[in-house]
Structures are given as C-alpha cells and as structure tokens.
C-alpha cells in the first residue's frame, strides 16, 4: 500500500483504524488519552484547590494576560502551519512541507522563549512583590506545575518535530508519520487553550 493510500485510509471512516498501516496513529491516540488524564488530573486538582482556598489571588492581576494571549496566538498559528505541512507532504510538495514544518518548530521555540521570559519575570519580580512563592502558596505551586508540565510537552514536541523533519528530508518518513506527529502537536495546542482559560482568564 502506498503512503497516499495509507493517508487516505487515515481520513476515511470506512476503513478500520486497526489496520497495520494505522497502528502508529492508534498508538499516539492512546498515549494522548493517557496524557490527557495527567493534564485532566492537574487541572481538576487546580480547580479543587482554588475553590477550597480563602486567599486565592485573581490570576489575571498577577500573571497578566497580554503576553499569554500572544503565546496562545502563537501556538494556534503553529498548529495551522503543522496541518499545512501535513497537507503539503500529502500532496508530495516537499519544499512547502519543509517551510511549514520549519515554521512550526520555530513557533514552538518562540513559545518556549516567551514562557522562559514569563517565568523569570514572575519568579524574580511579580511573585515576591505579592509575597508569593512556589513553596508558600498553592496559587504559585499549581501555576508552575501546570505550565511547567505543558512547557515540557512543548519542548518534547519541538524535538519530535525536528526529528520528523530530518527523517522526511532523508526520505525515511512519509505523510503518515507527519500526521502522527501532528496529532501530538495539536494536543499540546489544545491543552494550552484549556490552560489559558482555566489558569489565566478564569
């Protein structure tokens, strides 16, 4: 079966996702379901602790949302470039794939840079100013655990995407591998959408 047919099977509901061509995708979905449970527990735990607390600060006042809104925008854009790179490789356009996958990786790197900047700013200036720290208030603890766990996923995604890009350029990977990497990257974007709302805006 050619790659084109495998990809076709991936988006057509008539074919079972349990054919050997799709095991990788099914594996990624199972991993993501487990990963979503980890994130789900962290977010629920955050909500319960916040609800039970008498002294929870208003997150937007301490964290600020302008920079985070930009980071959200950036991740959404990188998700779009990811699907465009998948579309390009499905149509056999390797140059376009290279461009969009490169932009996706760049988006992830800028996101990580902004998060590093945000954390540095919070740890050295904002939190001490409000008499908060990682170890003294659950607001800060849950914030760093949640965004840190997500940041780790972005780091992993950047490395994963870089490996996929290299493997495609060497001709070892095809469209279906890009689709599987895309699933992971979109999941990271999806989780950030939830974190942005629950941790920053609410």
């Amino acid at each position: 079966m050619s790659d084109a047919v495998a990809v076709h099977a991936a988006v057509e509901p008539q074919e079972s996702p349990l054919t050997p061509e799709n095991w990788g995708k099914l594996g990624m979905w199972l991993f993501l379901a487990g990963d979503a449970m980890s994130f789900g527990c962290l977010i629920v735990g955050y909500g319960i602790l916040r609800y039970a607390s008498d002294s929870w600060p208003v997150p937007a006042e301490i964290l600020g949302i302008n920079l985070t809104a930009l980071m959200t925008f950036l991740l959404i854009v990188s998700s779009v470039t990811m699907v465009l790179s998948l579309s390009a490789i499905q149509h056999g356009d390797r140059a376009k794939f290279k461009k969009f996958m490169g932009l996706t990786i760049l988006g992830g790197l800028i996101f990580l840079g902004l998060q590093a900047y945000e954390w540095t700013h919070l740890i050295t200036e904002t939190l001490p100013h409000h008499n908060l720290s990682f170890s003294t208030h659950l607001f800060a603890t849950t914030f760093f655990v949640l965004t840190g766990f997500h940041g780790m996923h972005v780091t992993g995604g950047v490395i994963y995407n870089t490996c996929v890009l290299a493997a495609v350029l060497r001709g070892r990977y095809g469209p279906k591998h890009v689709e599987i990497a895309g699933l992971y990257w979109h999941f990271v974007d999806l989780v950030w959408i939830l974190i942005f709302t629950f941790v920053y805006l609410l």
Partner: protein
Amino acid sequence: MATTAHKEPNYIGVFWWLLVLTIIELGVIYLPIAKIAIAAMLVVLAISKAALVALYFMHLKFERLTLGLVALSPFILCVFLILMLMPDIFPR
C-alpha cells in the same frame, strides 16, 4: 490508485474561528456581568476551541466513532475525580 483526492478540511477557516473565539474570550473577562456568568462563558468558549482543534486539526471528525470514544475517555476520569473530591470542599 487515485485516492488522494479526499476532502480536506478548511484549515484556514478553522484558524479564523480559533482567533475570533480567543478575542471574544479576552473581551468577555471585562464584561460588567456576574463573575459566574463570565466563568460559564469562558468554559463554553474554551471547550468550543478545544473541540475545533480536535475535530479538524486532529481529524477526529473524519475518524471512526471508536477513536472519538478513546479521545473522550479522559473526561470520564475528570468527572469521576471531581465527584470524588466534592466531599472535601463542600462542607465549607
């Protein structure tokens, strides 16, 4: 086999929706209405955005139902977790 001509989702259209919903979210938090109403709107908006990403970018809309059930399974755990922790926070 000329099977590559499958219907591709309108990715750019989804992007505009995500952008508009994000801007609405940023606007909602400044509305002069009850906080609980703002919270409800934010949750609905966030879940809509997450659903857009899962359905179109992750192609869930074009997959079999079984895969959708796999994707939804973590939510069962979350609901269960909330119910289990309820007794801890409600006597307050």
